[in-house]
Amino acid sequence: MTLLELEDVTASYGPVQVLDGVSLSVPDNGAFGILGANGAGKTTTLRAISGAVRTSGRIVFDGKDISGLRPDQVAALGIAHVPEGRGSFGDLTVRENLRVGAYLRKDRKGIDEDIDYCLDLFPNLQDRIRSNASALSGGEQQMLAVARAIMSKPRMLLLDEASLGLAPSTAKNVYDAIRRLRDESGIAMVVVEQNANLAFTVVDSATVLETGRSVLTGTSAELKGMDEIRRAYLGG
């Protein structure tokens, strides 16, 4: 079943067209990857889904056209966005960050349970629960960003460059947790990642963007088998 569908979506920042007809369809379980070089439009595709940039074309989530909605309205429909650069609330504590993530929820007991789940998923955060987010390391902030997104109990998670600026071992830890989340939670995921090797550890299928267009879509196995993908994105 398709949960999210983009049909010929375009977007521009001022006069610069960044998305030039992106089409993709994301299934309602598992993880879907968006691969591509710098400037291919990966981040903008996620921002388009979240309503953070103006777009034309159709964006349909769960049978409803969501193009033109504000980010908070998109979030209310069950799409949680983990932005590039983590988007932590620096002056808030880790616990407060998680509570902001749960802003749309009213079930106090469920929120407490989910905070416990996040701390189980990311044990590093347990010791830092009272620290300001700005005092966390890059890896911890990335974990916090994912945890904050989970707190909204989303149906779909948009993950933007979760490995950016992290040491390889830290990036691997983050992706291990993301894989566990994928298997345990049933949350559908859209994973944007420049490091295709890491992306292929979680995604079942993916699309490749080049200069704002989707040029190629396939399952992980199909894509990994293609010479041009190997050369361009997998380092050999």
Binding site: P71, D72, A75, G87, F89, L92, V100, L104, S134
Partner: protein, 293 residues
């Protein structure tokens, strides 16, 4: 001794007025990340609204309540139609816009009601009561009490409520806040509205003492900013304590330190700031911000 206590009590009372404005500045800063220099001007406008209503025969307390509602709407409208255009841009530009707004509001008040001093009725009786053998005006006590209540309410709002948490989150990172489902634009309007309400309270408290003019709160704004720096931009309790400290110290210095006198007492808070900021750059009560890169 009696003189000393009297000076302290008077200082607390004037300090409370600085505190009210300082609290409003902290509120806007906590909710939008900006320092609003127009806060004093907006408060004066609220006081004029109350004054016009009392002249029409509306009971004072109702007139003040109406001016508070007016202020909430004024704050929300200013945010929605003016400040929003600058919030996503350079913060320096936005701050300069608030300075322009202060000039504009002062001009509008002068144009509508003139620059003459107007009598504003006092919310509290002018009697005095004896405290520890010193006669203290009920007005001073009442002003101080109202500020304590406002401070406690604000501390509770930001530390203990979902709305307060949401306001802070929006100020820190509006984009992430939106992604988390917070209605960013509405929360910014609420933040400005609430700050304007605090300003209106300050205006109503101080107008009887200073008499109402368009520039009534100009010097109070300077002291309020001093209190904000001294107390720390993030701490409602901190700025109130700092404002009281400033009010009391300037009174004492004017009387007891010969060369300062009443002409130089305005320098007192700034000497204090200078000393405190060398020792504690985050202010007396402010949180130290650590940023990792």
């Amino acid at each position: 001794m009696e003189k000393f206590v009297q000076l302290v009590v008077d200082g607390l009372s004037t300090g409370s007025v600085y505190a009210a404005l300082a609290l409003a500045i902290v509120l806007v800063h906590s909710a939008t990340g900006l320092v609003n220099f127009a806060q004093g001007g907006m408060a004066v406008l609220a006081a004029y609204v109350a004054w016009v209503l009392t002249n029409q025969g509306v009971p004072l307390i109702l007139a003040i309540l109406a001016s508070i509602i007016f202020s909430f709407l004024l704050g929300a409208v200013l945010e929605r139609f003016l400040m929003r255009r600058f919030e996503r841009g350079d913060p320096d530009t936005a701050v300069v816009v608030t300075i322009g707004l202060l000039t504009l509001i002062t001009g509008i008040a002068g144009w509508l009601w003139g620059y003459n001093n107007q009598q504003f009725p006092s919310l509290f009786p002018l009697d005095t009561v004896s405290v520890l053998g010193v006669s203290v005006s009920i007005r001073s006590l009442g002003t101080t009490l109202v500020i304590v209540v406002a401070m406690v309410a604000m501390q509770a709002l930001f530390a203990g409520t979902k709305l307060g948490l949401a306001l802070r989150a929006v100020a820190i990172n509006p984009q992430s806040a939106g992604y988390s489902g917070l209605p960013v634009e509405r929360l910014l309007m609420v933040g400005w509205g609430l700050a304007a309400v605090l300003g209106a309270v300050a205006g109503a408290l101080v107008a009887p003492q200073l008499t109402l003019t368009p520039g009534m709160l100009d010097s109070a704004l300077v002291y309020a900013l001093a209190a904000v720096i001294l107390g720390g931009l993030t701490s409602p309790v901190g700025v109130v304590v700092a404002a009281w400290l400033i009010g009391v110290l300037e009174n004492l210095a004017a009387v007891y330190v010969g060369f300062i006198g009443f002409d130089l007492k305005v320098a007192v808070p700034f000497i204090l700031i200078f000393v405190v900021l060398i020792v504690r750059p985050q202010g007396l009560f402010g949180r130290k911000t650590v940023v990792r890169v």
